[in-house]
Symmetry: C2
């Protein structure tokens, strides 16, 4: 079944081509893969790949929400556990966009963002803002690694809450932070 193998590899190449550049039309794909446009369409059908316009649309929508989830979401990372006023756990997988090209290590502020947003989230108040933060980055975090952050409220004084956060990768500490969070008032950030 040589043809089947050909077909499979072509469909794989199709998949890769579209991952690399989702803006390719069937026409262009047909040229690149040296088959007819109908074959491309059958392939897309079999692979469940939508047409150009749909792909572009999904990109446009998806990028929007991804942007928000990175910069505007309530918690950076995925909230795994939350006991308001006491402790919280979140998980963040390091993606390509978070990594410094040269060092291939996650940029510090992403780890900070995870820890900071978790420290804010754990506070049981309408409005909570970071007042001060003291952070230690213990070791690099690489692409694809999953960072688990644990936040623990250690005390409070008036509307000031003290939260310590510890982030781990595979049981290894990668970040330790002490946060002071302001609750309710709009005095500071």
């Amino acid at each position: 079944m040589v043809r089947t193998i050909k077909k499979q590899t072509r469909q794989q190449r199709l998949h890769v081509l579209l991952l690399d550049n989702p803006f390719l039309t069937d026409d262009e794909l047909a040229e690149k893969l040296e088959v007819s446009i109908q074959t491309i369409r059958l392939d897309r059908l079999e692979l469940g790949i939508p047409e150009l316009r749909e792909r572009v649309k999904q990109l446009a929508e998806g990028a929007n929400t991804k942007l928000k989830s990175i910069s505007g979401g309530e918690v950076v990372g995925e909230l795994v556990d939350l006991e308001l006023g006491q402790s919280a756990i979140s998980m963040l997988e390091i993606s390509t966009e978070m990594v410094l090209e040269k060092a291939r290590a996650a940029r510090g502020h992403h780890l900070f963002a995870q820890a900071n947003s978790l420290a804010v989230a754990v506070i049981d108040a309408e409005v909570a803002l970071t007042a001060t933060a003291k952070v230690k980055f213990k070791r690099q975090v690489g692409l694809g690694e999953k960072v688990v952050a644990k936040a623990q409220v250690t005390g409070s004084k008036g509307n000031r809450f003290f939260v310590s956060v510890c982030s781990m990768v595979n049981g290894e500490e990668v970040l330790a932070g002490e946060f002071v969070i302001f609750a309710k008032g709009s005095e500071e950030d």
Copy 2:
């Protein structure tokens, strides 16, 4: 000239509608604004607004680069001045995505990201990573405000560099931070 006013306000509404939801077709716009589809098309022509597919495409492309510039770019914010190994200045305008809904204030980690990436950028080395950070948020920063961060290298010890960062809005201090940055090696983040 009642018609002219009508036209202007309609075009303004058109503009706003598309800002709010760029995925609207001319058909839908015509319905919302209670004019014919031709009028919508003339309006788009006059306003220089491209057709739906083009808008979506631009969103898809633009969102990609925006994502990168927020999370993967070399410096968070706009680099205004840079003297490698000495000092650097960057500017960051607070956009809607950076703001906490309830507090209407910029989330701490955005200010941190600006300061941290600036502290890293100012170091004259192939690879620079944050080792420790101590940050104080002095006051809230609101939507649309422009944060100017200044980083100053205050000393070094081996491959450890000490950088202090001060961020201001309208001459008012909003963030003060002390960073320790590792240069070259891949020891820590």
